[in-house]
């Protein structure tokens, strides 16, 4: 069947507009990668190019010659992301399960207890003083795990999923068979919530991975600093960059291309894996949008 002209028109329009936007979305990364392979001389003299005049892998060689510091930074980030996401998922879904159960009389009070923190907060000053002065969490691994740990939105999404997708009758019959609440949660609710847990888990993990605010506020110790904050400092200071690759800030240091290469090294893994995880994110956004 031949397509009618209006359908051809909208497809054409789609290809032009979406194609252009998709190019805009990805071009900065291509520019980054291609220029990170440019020689320092080329950047200093001709600036960034769409296609570098002189190619060189010096910056990468420099990074991988002395990888201890960067591996440590990656290690901290992976540890915090893994531990934080695991704990967050477990405790969030446990709380969500409680407020989803109809026989819990105060479930609406508990939900509002969580929701109210979205409406009103004590502000940055008191938060900062509490965490650093009263809880003494500065310069600990725990601060990186605890600060971004819970999202009220995610707990409420989990609650809605459990309340609507897990039949009351399953829980009821498990209870009659003598299973206690903890057993029901671990052996029935968790397995049945696997798809939504995967989505929420990925959102949480992304939050941990990209967190630069917590370390900026609470971590001064170098060997506890995670990836994004390290990148931030490297972009801001040549001295810092030099130390990261185990070097002194000499005249010969290819500082501009080193910044680019470091950005690639810090961002690369996410760009490589996100296309495979995308469907879980899409599913998560869809679940979340059902009820604001």
């Amino acid at each position: 069947m031949k397509k009618s002209p209006d359908l051809v028109a909208i497809n054409l329009l789609g290809w032009i507009i979406i194609g252009f936007l998709a190019l805009v979305a990805t071009a900065p990364f291509l520019i980054l990668v291609i220029n990170s392979l440019s020689s320092e001389h080329s950047i200093i003299n001709y600036g960034y190019q769409l296609w570098p005049k002189e190619f060189s892998a010096d910056a990468y060689t420099m990074i991988f010659e002395n990888p201890q510091r960067i591996l440590r930074v990656y290690g901290i980030t992976i540890l915090v992301t893994g531990l934080g996401t695991g704990l967050s998922l477990l405790l969030s879904s446990m709380a969500a399960y409680v407020v989803a159960r109809r026989e819990v009389k105060y479930r609406n009070v508990l939900s509002f207890f969580l929701y109210f923190t979205q409406l009103f907060n004590g502000g940055l000053v008191t938060y900062y003083l509490l965490v650093s002065r009263d809880l003494h969490l500065s310069n600990t691994l725990w601060v990186l795990i605890l600060v971004p740990m819970f999202s009220v939105m995610n707990i409420l999404i989990l609650r809605n999923f459990i309340a609507t997708s897990i039949p009351e009758s399953i829980i009821e019959s498990a209870r009659i068979d003598g299973m206690d609440d903890l057993g029901i949660f671990f052996r029935i609710v968790l397995p049945l919530s696997a798809p939504v847990l995967a989505s929420i888990g990925l959102f949480t993990a992304l939050g941990y991975w990209n967190d630069w605010w917590t370390p900026m506020m609470f971590i001064q110790k170098r060997d506890l600093q995670p990836l994004q904050y390290t990148l931030y400092q490297m972009l801001a200071s040549v001295t810092y960059t030099a130390q990261m690759v185990g070097n002194m800030p000499t005249v010969n240091l290819p500082k501009e291309s080193l910044k680019l290469a470091m950005t690639v090294v810090a961002t690369g893994p996410i760009i490589l894996i996100y296309p495979f995880l995308q469907k879980h994110f899409v599913a998560g956004i869809t679940i979340g949008s059902v009820k604001g």
């Binding site: 909208i10 979406i18 950047i43 709380a95 399960y97 923190t117 502000g123 994004q228 961002t267 760009i271």
Partner: protein, 312 residues
């Protein structure tokens, strides 16, 4: 018989005994929010104090409304309020417009492969931290080596110092806001479009309505609930800034500060750089209360119109 007796006992204690284990399962999250969200709320009194490190929040002397007076008299209150409102309005409108546009155009594409590929490409910026985005923006705009100036000079024109021109940022910031979020937003609307009834489109098509007419009369009206929810959430957050974005893209650049200072950046800068706890906490409290009032007002209006659309 036994259930009947149980139902007669509705007390708090009885509930705790009966469902104690369930409440215990809620405890970790409850303790977390008590410490990290409710405890800081008690500290808002610091906005009415002359803070010093020895005294802390409770031991520092009171100074009444001095912090607020200073916040107003410095001219900062008006400036950051206007900036925050204007930027957030621009962000919200641009974000909704482009998300809807992208969702509709993608949903009408014939090729599945094209749909998937484009969606993946548009989603990329969502996964990137603002730190990386700041590096990308710097690569494009920096005066000495930036790609834009390389190209501009290549065409024989004068190089532009974007980081020194405050007039450009009300365009640049919304641009990158949309750039980062449109992949996410379009998924929201695509989900909504996928849930729409196809028969309506087919019937209209048989009656001779072309695709543009059908989008305007069938697809768009059905997106209204999603648009309203996102608008409500957006208006509720209108006094909260995208701190990550402003701090990473603009930072503490003196040339741009008047044009790009929002409440969140002021609060942060006062706390971290100038250690001005008074200004910082006064501005923070001002923001919290304003947000709270706006949310209640918006919710009240919506509730009166249509109860099911209200947030609470």
């Amino acid at each position: 018989m036994t259930t009947k007796i149980l139902h007669n006992r509705q007390g708090f204690l009885f509930e705790m005994i009966r469902n104690g284990r369930l409440y215990a399962m809620f405890m970790p999250v409850a303790v977390y929010f008590l410490i990290f969200a409710y405890l800081p709320m008690t500290g808002i009194v610091v906005a009415f104090k002359d803070f010093n490190y020895q005294g802390g929040i409770w031991g520092s002397p009171w100074n009444g409304w001095d912090n607020f007076r200073y916040f107003i008299e410095s001219g900062k209150l008006v400036q950051v309020t206007i900036n925050t409102l204007l930027y957030n309005t621009l962000f919200l409108v641009a974000y909704l417009f482009f998300s809807i546009l992208v969702a509709i155009l993608i949903s009408e594409m014939g090729s599945r492969l094209a749909k998937k590929t484009f969606q993946t490409m548009l989603f990329l910026p969502y996964f990137i931290s603002w730190v990386t985005v700041s590096a990308l923006v710097y690569n494009l705009f920096n005066y000495e080596y930036g790609l834009m100036n390389t190209l501009v000079k290549g065409w024989g024109m004068e190089a532009v110092d974007i980081y020194a021109d405050p007039n450009l940022w009300p365009v640049i910031l919304p641009f990158f806001y949309v750039w980062k979020w449109v992949g996410f937003g379009s998924v929201l609307f695509l989900a909504s479009i996928a849930g729409q009834d196809k028969e309506c489109h087919e019937a209209a098509s048989i009656d001779g309505a072309n695709i543009f007419y059908r989008i305007r009369r069938i697809t768009l009206p059905q997106l209204k609930p999603t648009i309203i929810i996102l608008l409500l959430l957006g208006v509720g957050r209108i006094m909260r800034g995208e701190f990550d974005m402003f701090y990473q893209l603009v930072g503490t650049n003196g040339n741009l500060i008047d044009a790009t200072d929002i409440i969140d950046t002021l609060v942060f800068r006062s706390l971290v750089s100038t250690q001005d706890f008074g200004m910082s906490s006064a501005a923070g409290l001002y923001q919290s209360i304003l947000c709270f009032v706006i949310i209640l007002a918006v919710n009240g209006i919506v509730r009166r119109q249509d109860k099911s659309q209200a947030l609470f």
